[in-house]
């Protein structure tokens, strides 16, 4: 049975609509505040959310983006007391399902709900029918599910994809998953590591060369673009591709035709392009280190792989997966994990991400040798030092009671409202940094509900885990 949530501060409206929807056989719930509503959305799976704009603890329109971040984001129907064309525009641009006035007829509300439910049903059938092949992508966190959903969506079209993310987040695994779930999965998936190719070789390796094209070219050789014909070409660390090659590649990509080095005859290749980088390509474009036209062509859809510090709930799964894999290959004695070992894994911020986690596990297993339980002492020193320093700092910090303002407020620069917003942003930023993105701890420390915290982070542009 579809689940509906009504978020409105007027209990009468909630009650009337709830009764109406229940008569339509819908599982209906309601919340009187935005924070409670968001909390319910993120701890459950709703199909439709009726969202009021003016709520006692926030503006419904500002919560739309946060709701859309849910891996199974519900359809949103905005309800408003008074017609506001600007609000309607914001809502529609945010891809809400509908924007209706409370003063409208019940028939109109009912019709909007029925259509949204029909769409939802259709969407559910499509998603259920297409289970994603994810191979080595391990994790069940919200961040990973969101990323996989984006991969599934992107795999059904031919648009070029740019995968961004920090080193060690497994960008290549997501690229492979994209290929495996695409219509091209029976053809080649060709990996090009742009960091390893010397500048003078990139052209001939990508485009191939004819016999005698240059000294040493004693035979015709097909390039990687040709090998990717019918399949996918994955340009890993595309930020390292020389500018001159970007120009030639752009033409080959757009026209699906190119000329191998030294050849007079054009050849064709129909490939899908997936690129990845850990660098900020827009910054590189500004500095003329990356071609703007090339950037816009390769980045039609961007998918960001989440850093491990923002999905620490996946750590036990990742550790188990890696240890099982090692056990199978090396026929090693299994190691158990002590609670303090796991706590130290959670405490660290993992700048090297999953790759660093696996390295740390390898190190710990090797250090433990025949001892069957892994303790913190088996971890690499840098992780232990980080955690111990963190504990000391937290302990010292706890003694300092409430914050004191060192300077007087710049009343000539900010209005009261602007100043308070600035303070909120600073607090949230410090909170996320202090808890290293652990939302559960952040909620505990701040006293905010999970939903409210997500909405505030979104509002203040602070990247949430």
């Amino acid at each position: 049975m579809p689940k509906i949530l009504i978020i409105d501060d007027d209990p009468n409206i909630c009650s009337v609509l709830s009764e109406k929807f229940k008569r339509m056989d819908q599982d209906t719930h309601w919340s009187l505040t935005l924070s409670d509503g968001l909390n319910r959305i993120f701890s459950d799976e709703f199909d439709i959310v009726f969202l009021d704009i003016n709520l006692p603890d926030g503006n419904g329109l500002e919560a739309i983006d946060a709701i859309k971040d849910h891996p199974f984001a519900p359809e949103i129907i905005i309800m408003t007391g008074e017609g506001d064309p600007e609000g309607a525009e914001i809502a529609i641009k945010s891809k809400v399902w509908d924007y209706i006035q409370k003063s409208g007829s019940h028939k109109q509300i009912e019709l909007s709900l029925i259509r949204a439910l029909e769409y939802r049903q259709q969407k559910r059938i499509i998603i259920q029918g297409k289970k994603i092949k994810r191979e080595a992508i391990i994790g069940e966190s919200r961040q990973i599910k969101l990323c996989l959903r984006n991969i599934l969506k992107a795999s059904k079209n031919e648009v070029p994809i740019l995968i961004t993310g920090e080193t060690g987040t497994g960008k290549e695994l997501f690229a492979k998953a994209l290929h495996e779930n695409s219509l091209r999965h029976q053809n080649n998936f060709i990996v090009v590591d742009c960091t390893s190719l010397p500048e003078h070789l990139v052209e001939s390796i990508l485009f191939g060369h004819s016999k005698g094209a240059f000294t040493g070219a004693d035979s015709h050789k097909a390039g990687l673009i040709t090998m990717a014909d019918g399949g996918t070409l994955f340009l890993d660390e595309i930020g390292e591709l020389p500018l001159v090659i970007q120009k030639k590649f752009l033409r080959a990509f757009q026209e699906k035709r190119f000329r191998p080095v030294g050849s007079k005859i054009e050849t064709s290749s129909d490939f899908r392009l997936i690129s990845a980088t850990h660098r900020n390509l827009t910054e590189m474009v500004k500095k003329n280190q990356f071609r703007e036209d090339f950037y816009f062509r390769i980045a039609s859809i961007k998918i960001e792989t989440p850093p491990l510090r923002n999905r620490k709930s996946d750590i036990p799964l990742l550790v188990t997966h890696h240890m099982e894999r090692k056990k199978k290959i090396f026929d090693e004695l299994p190691h158990e994990l002590s609670q303090e070992f796991l706590e130290d894994l959670y405490g660290y911020d993992w700048p090297g991400n999953v790759r660093e986690l696996f390295n740390a596990i390898d190190y710990a297993c090797s250090d433990a040798f025949q001892e069957s339980i892994l303790f913190s002492k088996h971890l690499p020193d840098n992780i232990r030092v980080f955690n111990i320093k963190n504990k000391i700092e937290n302990h010292n910090g706890a003694a300092s009671d409430y914050p004191t303002l060192e300077k007087s407020a710049p009343v000539d620069k900010f209005s009261f409202k602007e100043y308070i917003e600035k303070m909120k942003q600073t607090y949230l930023s410090d909170l996320i940094s202090h808890t290293q993105g652990d939302i559960k701890t952040a909620c505990r420390l701040s006293g905010l509900s999970r939903g409210h915290l997500y909405a505030l982070l979104k509002k203040h542009n602070i990247s949430s885990p």
Partner: protein
């Protein structure tokens, strides 16, 4: 920088050219050559952990050898791997892509490109 080169004992003849070229072009670089699957597994076990200074070069002289390597893919994850392939057929390339190799080239190549790639990789930090 360490190069770890795998040439199966049954293919020493086919791999000798490759080994000699690497030896000649990278004089002074530590080159460890392994000839059995078990010794390679043991070597991989030792290299668990950060391996910025290691490059694994695997000679797969046949499709079955490549399939044999495939059981170690999980352990080669994150390692800098170069594959020397028996051919460039669709099936071979499909299998090779599972290794996410930094570079691959067919067996019997002049290995000039390989040396240039190794040279560049030797002088960079892993991303």
């Amino acid at each position: 920088m360490n190069f770890i080169l795998f040439i199966h004992q049954d293919s020493l003849k086919k791999g000798i050219t490759l080994k000699n070229i690497i030896d000649k072009n990278f004089y002074g670089t530590e080159l460890q050559t392994l000839h059995t699957f078990n010794s390679f597994k043991e070597r991989l076990k030792k290299s668990m952990g950060p391996s910025e200074n290691e490059i694994f070069i695997l000679l797969a002289e046949s499709r079955s050898r490549l399939n044999e390597f495939a059981s170690l893919i999980g352990l080669l994850e994150g390692k800098r791997t170069i594959l020397i392939l028996p051919d460039e057929s669709k099936a071979t390339l499909s299998r090779a892509s599972e290794f996410f190799p930094r570079f691959f080239t067919p067996m019997g190549d002049t290995y000039n490109d390989l040396c240039d790639v190794l040279n560049k990789m030797s002088n960079q930090k892993q991303i």
